[in-house]
Symmetry: C2
Subunit: 217 residues, 2 copies
């Protein structure tokens, strides 16, 4: 059955692979599932046909026969269930990997996204100089805790899992901030994720979309 995902017609991050189609592409590459991509414009995303697949008018969506899913976390989980390679076979280890998926998206990511929004929408506001450092402090608390847990391990809990995939995808949002450089263990962890052949293929494919239609400055 053909798998079709949606992605931005024009990359808002200029090909850095920070949009949420990236973890889905990466997961599909890790387990060796072929997929097609339907590009959608920012306008079309908010129209009824796309909202039928994702009520929040966002990418990615995932279509496979009768099944339509949204939410990158849920799509990665679906992919991880279908094929081996992203979740351990042992039931307890599997639940711990799922824990890291939720930790990535609901504990580590929120202050990082809040920082991105503050940089984009509030940089010219009089309060930016006071607020941004407060957000950065919240992010550093999480990075410190995550670095402590990871220690010298290669991945968060045994073999590479969907939890690592989502955590690396979340941490990559910090590349431009330079904050990852303060945590050499996390920096190396992200680099290990980015060095995986499946990541490389997924990254190249999303970059090709940007190169085919670069966004004007």
């Amino acid at each position: 059955m053909t798998i079709t995902i949606t992605a931005f017609e024009r990359s808002p991050d200029r090909g850095q692979g920070l949009a949420r189609d990236m973890p889905v592409r990466w997961a599909l590459e890790e387990v060796g599932l072929a997929y097609e991509v339907r590009l959608v414009s920012f306008e079309a995303m908010k129209e009824p046909p796309h909202r039928a697949a994702n009520p929040f008018g966002q990418i990615p969506t995932y279509e496979e026969g009768e099944l339509t899913l949204f939410e990158s976390g849920a799509i990665v989980f679906h992919i991880a269930q279908r094929r081996s390679g992203l979740l351990p076979d042992d039931a307890d280890a599997r639940d711990r990997a799922v824990t890291w998926m939720f930790a990535a998206l609901s504990t580590v990511e929120p202050p990082i996204v809040e920082r991105s929004m503050a940089v984009i929408f509030e940089s010219d506001k009089p309060w930016a100089a006071e607020r941004l450092p407060a957000i950065d402090a919240r992010i550093r608390t999480r990075l410190h805790e995550l670095a402590d847990r990871l220690g010298d391990a290669e991945w968060l809990d045994g073999a590479f899992s969907a939890g690592d995939l989502l955590m690396v995808a979340v941490l990559r949002r910090l590349h431009r901030s330079g904050m990852l450089d303060e945590y050499p263990g996390l920096h190396a962890y992200v680099a290990r994720g980015e060095a995986r052949p499946a990541f490389q293929r997924a990254f190249a494919d999303q970059l090709a979309v940007f190169n085919a239609a670069p966004q004007p400055d």
Copy 2:
């Protein structure tokens, strides 16, 4: 095997049931699993013994024999897998329910938590009058989209699921803001969740913790 969860020793919301032990208690009640609660102080949460269970120093954690989990979303998912009642049997319907779990925690909740933090930490800041309405606008966008999708249905996708449980838990954070009143469909949806006997039992149990040791004003 005994199930033990952790919860705040003193309720920061004065017994409103907004802390993250609440969805876990609710899920356990829905499927009829008995559990014990170990109360932890704000200080003890940040110490090594608790961080061994949750590296981010938060509640709840979940212990069951050799298995230790954290992240309320992951714990609810674990519970939903163990017993029937929170996830459909059909594989596609199950994946759609998981989609709503992620949607609750990673799409709907973040601006709601950001609002709570702005109210608590930034109300006295000169920018509060400009920033709070901007956050509210982001929340209303999500509420509008969610209300559109729910329509006249009782639950988000067929029978009540772990997705509804987490979504109702997230929306309850808006009670004091009055914003839910603007969306009668969502208001009724939350009321349906709160009327469930399992919710009532979980709510009473967390309230008993607050009543046993009320927090000083």
